[in-house]
Every structure is written in C-alpha cells, then in structure tokens.
Symmetry: C2
Subunit: 405 residues, 2 copies
Amino acid sequence: MSKIAVLGFGTVGSGTVEVFCKNKSNYCKKTGQSLDIKYILDVRDFPESPYADKFVKDFDTIVNDPEVTVVAELIGGNTFAYDCVKRALQAGKSVVTSNKELVATKGAELLQIAAEKNVNFFFEASVGGGIPIIRPLQQCLMSDEITSIAGILNGTTNYILTKMLKESAEFADVLAKAQELGYAERDPEADVSGGDACRKICILASLIFGEHIYPEDVYTEGVTSITKEDAEYAANWGGVIKLIASAQKCGKCLEIVVCPCFVSCESQLSGVDDVFNAILVRGEATGEVVFYGRGAGKYPTASAVVADILNAVKNESKNICWKEKGAESCVVDYKKQEHRFYLRLADTDKAKVSELFGDVEFLNRANMPEGEIALITPELCREELDKKCGDLKVLGKIQLFDIGG
Amino acid sequence: MSKIAVLGFGTVGSGTVEVFCKNKSNYCKKTGQSLDIKYILDVRDFPESPYADKFVKDFDTIVNDPEVTVVAELIGGNTFAYDCVKRALQAGKSVVTSNKELVATKGAELLQIAAEKNVNFFFEASVGGGIPIIRPLQQCLMSDEITSIAGILNGTTNYILTKMLKESAEFADVLAKAQELGYAERDPEADVSGGDACRKICILASLIFGEHIYPEDVYTEGVTSITKEDAEYAANWGGVIKLIASAQKCGKCLEIVVCPCFVSCESQLSGVDDVFNAILVRGEATGEVVFYGRGAGKYPTASAVVADILNAVKNESKNICWKEKGAESCVVDYKKQEHRFYLRLADTDKAKVSELFGDVEFLNRANMPEGEIALITPELCREELDKKCGDLKVLGKIQLFDIGG
C-alpha cells in the first residue's frame, strides 16, 4: 500500500490528481500495489472538489504520516517548495516534482539527501512537460557518450517567434495576443528573458556532464529584441529564428548558452512550431536523436508527474536516481567560442562591411531601406564580434545554430 | 562481477563489442559492478581481432558457464537465434536482442520464460535502432493511456522515397543506387515489401495494447508500386509519400496497417528524410510525442544493445520487463476502416469520377497526359474503394495518413 501526497492544487497539481484518479485501477495493476492519493496540500479551500476530503493546510500532517511514501511537489518556486521537499526526503519519502527552478538551483543538494535516505528524487516533468527526456537520457543513452544537447525548451517564446515569422508581426503585438490566449503569463519575464529555458538546460546539462550547472553561470539572452525584419532575413537565409538552449562538451569543459539563433531549415529543430518543444541529443555512437512534443500544459505535464510517482512506488526504498560525479567540467567563457552570426546594420555599405568581416554572405528582404545591410559573418567569437561592431549601428545580432548535421 | 556473451560478430555484434570495450570503465562506474565480455560466438574465425581470445563456436560453452549472466543475441532470424535465446533464458540468464523477427514472432513466449526464471528479455534495439523508444514507452508513458502509434520504421524505404521525391526518380533506379551505397540489402525484399516495418510495428503495438500482435495478422503493403508521378501528385496536394506503420485503438480493438501514405507537410513525420526513422506516439494526457533518429546502423544500434546489457546487469535476478496482459484486443479488418485515399486514374474524366466518389479534390502535375485524373477521395473504406474502382483504370492508390494533429 502506497499513499501519495500532492503539494499544490494549481494547474499541474489538479491535473495530476485528475490523471491519477482516472487511471488508478490501471496503475494498481501495473505496479502490483494498492495506491491512492491521501493528501492534497493547498492554502485555498476547494469545498466543491470531488477530492475535498483529502485537502490539508499543514505540511506537518503529511511529513509526519508514515503511510505517505511519495510526495509530489507541484507548488513552484524555491522557498516553501524547497523546505517541503527537503523535509520530505529527510523523512524518508520519495519526492517527484515539475519545479524546474527548484531542480536547477537546489538539485545537487536534494539528490544528495535522497541518496543518503535511500529514496528517490525524480523530476521528469521539469523539462519538456510531457516529453520523456530525463529518463531516456539517463537510461537508454547510458551506454553512449553524449557530446551535446540543444533544444527549444520554452513553449511561450516559441509560439511568439512562430507567429512573428508566419504573420510578419512585431514581438509586442504577438506577446499581447499570447497573453490573451493564455499561452503567456501576465508576467512573461521568465519566459521572454530566456530564464525558464536556462533552468531547463541547466538540468539537462547537469545530467549529461555529471556536475551541477547553475543558472547564474549560463549566458542567457531573451527574445525581446527580435524584430520582424530579423525574421524576414532569417527566411531569406533559409531558416527561422528559435530560442535555443544548448550545452556542448569542449574537452573537459562545457559551453552552455541560451540565446535566439538562426536555425537552418535543414535542422529538425526548425520545424518545431507554436507551443511545441524539442530536444536534440547527440551521442558519439547514437548520432542524433530528437524528442518532440508538448513542453507544457496541464495534462502533458501531469502525465509526466504521474509516471514519476509510479516509478517512485516501484522503487520504494531503493535509490535509483542519477548521481552527480563531482566537478570534472567547467563552463567556458561563451564570449570566446566561435560561431557565425547574423548582423543587421544601418548607415553602412557592403564594401565597408566586407573589409571589416571578410567573406560574408549578404541577405535581402522586401523594401530594404537605403543604407541597411544584413549579413552572415564568418566564424568568430563574440568578443571579436563586439569589437568589430564598435563603430557600427547594429540593429540586430543573432547567433547561427551550429549543433547537429 | 557480470560476464557477458555476445552471439554473432556481424555488423551489430562487432559494433556492440567495440562500443562496450571502449566505454567499459565508465560502465563499471555507472553500474557499480565489474563487467566484461567473456565470449563471442561466431562460426567464423577472426584471428586478427583484438578480441580473438574470446571467440567460441559452441553455444554450450556459454549456456553452461554460470559466470555468464547476460547474453546479447545479435545473430538474426528465428531459428538458431530462437534456440539460443530460449536456452539462455531457461538457464537463468538475461537476454538482450536487436532481432525484430525473433521478438515479433516469438516475443510472447520468450517474455513468459524470462518472467518464470526471474530474468529479463530486453529488445530496445529491435525498433528504431539508436532511438530510445521501447523503454520510454514502457516507463515514461506508463501513466498515460496510449491511443495510437505511427512511424517511419524502415530507413531503406524512407531513403528510396526521399530520393524519388527530391530527384524525381523512379523506384527501380533509386533502389539500385541505394544497393550500391550499402543503404539497401542485395536482397531488399524484407524492406521494400514492408515486412521489416511490419515486425517493428507489431512489437510496438504489443507493448501498447498488452497483447502480442503477430505479423501475419497485419495488412502490409510495400513501396514497389510507387511511381514518381505519385510523388509529384503528393507534392501538389501538399505532402510527401512515406511508408507508414501504424497501430490505433478503436475501442477494445486495434487497427494495425503498414502501407505507403500521403503525409501532409503539417505532420512532424513529413520532414523525416533519408535513412532516418521517427515514431509518433499519441497519449490521452500526453498528446503527441515524436522520437526521431537513426533507425539503423552499426553504432546507433550497438549503443541501444549496450544500454540493454547495462540495464540487465543493474536488474540481475529481478524481472522488470514488460508483461502481456492477455487477449483483450483484436485486430480489426483493415478493409472496413475509413480513410481518405489518393487515386491516379487513366482514361477517365472529372465528371465520371465526381459522380462515383462525390466531393473529391483534384490534383495536378506538370505534363499531365490526356485522360489522366488524380484526386483525393472523401472518407471511405478500402472495400468500398475497391468496389468503386472496379471499372476504372487505376494507376496509383495510396492512403492518406490521418493520425495526429
């Protein structure tokens, strides 16, 4: 008999309870155990809910109940949620969470406690919503050396960029519409700044590189400065603009960056539109593998949370979660890494630009104003790029995506 | 200490030995156990091989050695390979295999023996080569009700169809070139007839529907009759032609079919080109998830085999593999299922066709000969379609792919 506690009855929390209760009898068959949700923790009252008798307001009730073996943390943030998760693990309960902020900032410590207590800390739902990515990375690819991972990890910005390109619209207008439709939060800061994607790539990078990578060590650039003109030039070049979060091994070091990129139409990531997410994993033996699906949403995320709950039940009192190897890699200075870049410049001419950058590829769009030049540079690092751009009037600057074939 | 035996030193067998030996020290760390390949079974001699001392010719040596805990069957076929796998399982050794024919035809029996002996029978490499699909299906999606699965599961035919479309070439010419390049076998029958894809969809369907589905129960149509004219009409319609293997729940029953399909450019499967494979899984809560990568090849397949070996080592004496629930579903008659179809007809006219089929969508291509008509029918079943086509001169007939959004 396993009793489960769900912390937080918001979108993902209520979805988790709903998915679990709908399929409960199946789960009991699959795990060979009797399972049920015993508690739901929320500060609010839900007198009309069919689960009204399960609500509690005090976490102590949960943490002190020896019947509870699995806690699903779906509160968010890293203050109260962190406290609950830590206490649950210390009390010998397994924890599953969809909270990317918590995993990205406190994952190393929480995994350590889980190992000491011989319980599990799972977080499949923290990256890619319903896309199975963390477990496949750990298990199926454990035979291979993974050299890079790159993804479209934020559905809101991908929706905005898709609309900008397809409807030739401006960022602010599309964002307003996305907020109206509920695809973007009223405070879209974490999405549009790249912060959300940054937390997710930190989680994936930590798994692959065996050392915890913290968000503050990652260069993160959002999408707020992307214009519809940039999108038109991307189309002329033969690609689209996507917010890419990537981590790539360079010897013992790691290049990890979140920034908008020109993505060629040849890349599998270029066709990932609207709120969908995709993660491209490159392994030495495996080659390229791409995982694609809904990166957010009530039910996709809830189904990943429930899968983790079932996995925790099946592995009660047996720590099977991933262990960090300890510091073997280091994050390299992103400014020193060479890439090609798209530049959009005003008040200049092709001769001047060619002299400065060498062999460039010029781009076109309809109704280009006099003195506007758009181009793709040869490979150079950001430091050098910024130096060369010193005297130029730069209207747009976007890296080219260069992972994968 | 776990000793492993590899059966067969062909492409996948030698790749498996190579990948394993290269990363052995890592694997020992990851599994916390000392691991090694003790035997390689092959009828041939490999005196120059760095592993020459491991070769044996008699399976008895392996099956009678209590040190061997995991056997990797990479021989192929379902005669000698079947005998070895059965004996290994009965002797209490876990078995991993890339042999789709064996799993599709004998999987139910072998899983049963593995369960009785409390060992494992894993076959991640039998579908999708290096793409993690079987374990994600079992584990990550175990929380969800999977309603359909559809994929491009054969790299050879996908390469041929891609070339036909992109280079406007005929089937026979592209096949000859593919054989020259080593992308197609000298005897391409299993690939071009759809037989290979059929075995793979049977394996996936069995997992999802909880009952073993046998290849002989599946309607299978190959790609040999596809012409470059069909590909041109597909482009005019807004799609491409792909060999699709699909399985879909209809209540308690199952529709399972392998056939070429018109796939809309809106579908994630349309962009899967050359030798790549992709599998689209649709779950009630999860929505659509797509897994993409190299579906064959020495190293991608070997890395999946090695992942299974490591998983077998980690779960020694604990049967964690999937169990069939027993007959709950049945394969429905594919002729009674409604779809839309593309038809290419000679010696007819639009009025006659419209009268016969109702509201059709006509297609065009460059240099259409007099009397040729190409169209998309409304929804109807194959039985009805064949009846209506009775008096027509049919040059091409291809189903429209209609799974997913």
